[in-house]
């Protein structure tokens, strides 16, 4: 027992004497890109340690502000309140990709005929004005309205588009979840749910709605529509640092913006920035 202890302690002290560490955390939308980029970067630079955490865009911005993270990941822009909270911090924002926030429904609803809605209708569901799918031409079932925690980037972008205010309350919400993963889980467990996800999380159980525009056209949430800008709810995927990045951090960011890094962006289901 004592021997085990000694071994562990000495491994720590001797083993990884001084590794350069980059601390990254924040949006779960950007997380897959950074995680995978970190893994390939580590293969090229074994001396650098990159620690990645989730938590949401709010946490990313927050912790960069408090100098606990070197790089924050966020899928929304920094709010004025946040800028005021950290007056001494120079938030340097770099875009590393683009994605879309897609209103998603359970596959049973999609298969029952609801494949497109207007932004107004979606907003009404979250505002509590519409509570049954039959009001929208679907089956007679209560809508399970899945919301996200208020500091999440995905929510900011989504609410801005459907309710006009990125911090809008959603009285019609039935469930409040956190990461993209959790939301995807809940949506696939239900058969009449609506929620908001990044386009990389769409799958067979969780179908993305087409947006019914004012002129009657239906815009599908495809990569092409994100690239050409016709899908109305798109956003940049951002990383944030305090001031201009230098040294290892700068090198890693340049790696993400390089061709290889951008390929990782695409493999994760997003659109490259260059």
């Amino acid at each position: 027992m004592k021997l085990l202890l000694l071994t562990i302690l000495s491994t720590i002290v001797l083993g990884c004497a001084s590794k350069e560490t980059i601390n990254i955390g924040g949006s779960t939308t950007v997380l897959p890109v950074i995680s995978n980029a970190a893994e390939s970067y580590r293969a090229l630079n074994p001396d650098i340690r990159i620690i990645v955490n989730a938590g949401g865009s709010g946490v990313g911005i927050n912790q960069v502000g408090e100098n606990k993270l070197d790089i924050g990941m966020t899928s929304r822009s920094i709010t004025d309140t946040e800028k005021q909270k950290y007056p001494n911090v120079d938030f340097n924002v770099i875009s590393i990709g683009r994605d879309a926030v897609v209103p998603v429904v359970s596959s049973e609803i999609y298969d029952a005929g609801i494949t497109a809605l207007t932004l107004q209708q979606i907003g009404d569901i979250y505002a509590g004005k519409i509570s049954n799918w039959s009001e929208l031409g679907g089956p007679d079932q209560d809508i399970l309205c899945v919301d996200k925690e208020t500091s999440r980037g995905t929510r900011h972008v989504f609410m801005k588009a459907v309710l006009g205010d990125k911090e809008a309350p959603a009285p019609g919400a039935d469930l409040v979840l956190g990461s993209n993963n959790e939301e995807q889980t809940a949506l696939s467990q239900s058969n009449s749910a609506i929620g908001m996800l990044s386009n990389a999380w769409l799958n067979d159980d969780v179908k993305g709605l087409n947006i019914l525009m004012d002129d009657g056209s239906k815009i599908e949430p495809t990569l092409a529509n994100i690239i050409n800008g016709t899908f109305p709810i798109t956003r940049d995927l951002l990383i944030v640092t305090n001031g201009t990045p230098t040294g290892n951090i700068k090198a890693f960011i340049e790696y993400i913006l390089s061709d290889e890094g951008q390929r990782i962006v695409e493999q994760s289901g997003y659109v490259r920035i260059k």
Binding site: L5, S35, R49, I51, N181, T185
Partner: protein
Amino acid sequence: MTRKSKNSFFKIFCWLSVSACFGTLIFLFGVIFLNGIPAISLDFITSRSSNFGSEGGILYQIVGSILIVLVAALLSFPLAIGTAIFKSEYLNNRKWKKLSNVLIFGLNGIPSVVFGIFGLILFVNILGFGISWFVGSIILAVMMLPTITLTTFQSINSIPVIYRESSLALGLNKWQTITKVLLPQSFSGAITGLFIGLARAIGETAPIMFIATAFSGVDLPSGIREPVSTLPTHILALAQQATNPAALQNAWGASFVLILLVMLFSTTALVIRKRQLSHQRL
């Protein structure tokens, strides 16, 4: 209803309750074992996790968990023994005894998430340690303190007075009595408490999830101010992806390993306690 039928109803209710409890127990362990064992392989235990945890193994989570709780035990043990000795040998006033009991039981009952926010405020923010595995150990040490103190106290207290009297009669002073006569006999009680505390600490998520852990990219920490990955927080992250079968399977695997560790600590405590009971003196 006759008295006899009331009696029968009652007995049936008791049997049903026991079956329900037993059934729950079997269900819980069955689920963990049946789902966990297929997920375990040598590869799983010895490789690092990747891709949100849905691929790869849990090596650094295991290392992180063990590191945090062992250091916590190191921090907690001396303090607990000191407190137990004080309570048993130096506290004579009934009122003070009751008060110390209350305070220690009180500490035992504090919700784990409150410990977490306490650690966040004091260590991460005010003292500026940042996210650090060592802070996690400190908080877990505080949580283990009442358990170890109480078992050690029971051990010391149950040593008959005659040992103390003989020791003093031979000319040993108080501290020597404690170290040479009382502590050696109650040591196994202290160790029992230690292992019970370890079993509880290794499964804790809330206290460490926002002050000591990170999700990926962590291997062995190279200093005090670094986060680690632990089994419970890893399971938490995986549980949020419950419909992803790869992630879910890894969650069961990690749960299985965690339960094994908990059982390892608990059975060690049990074995030590049994051995101590069979070594009854006088």
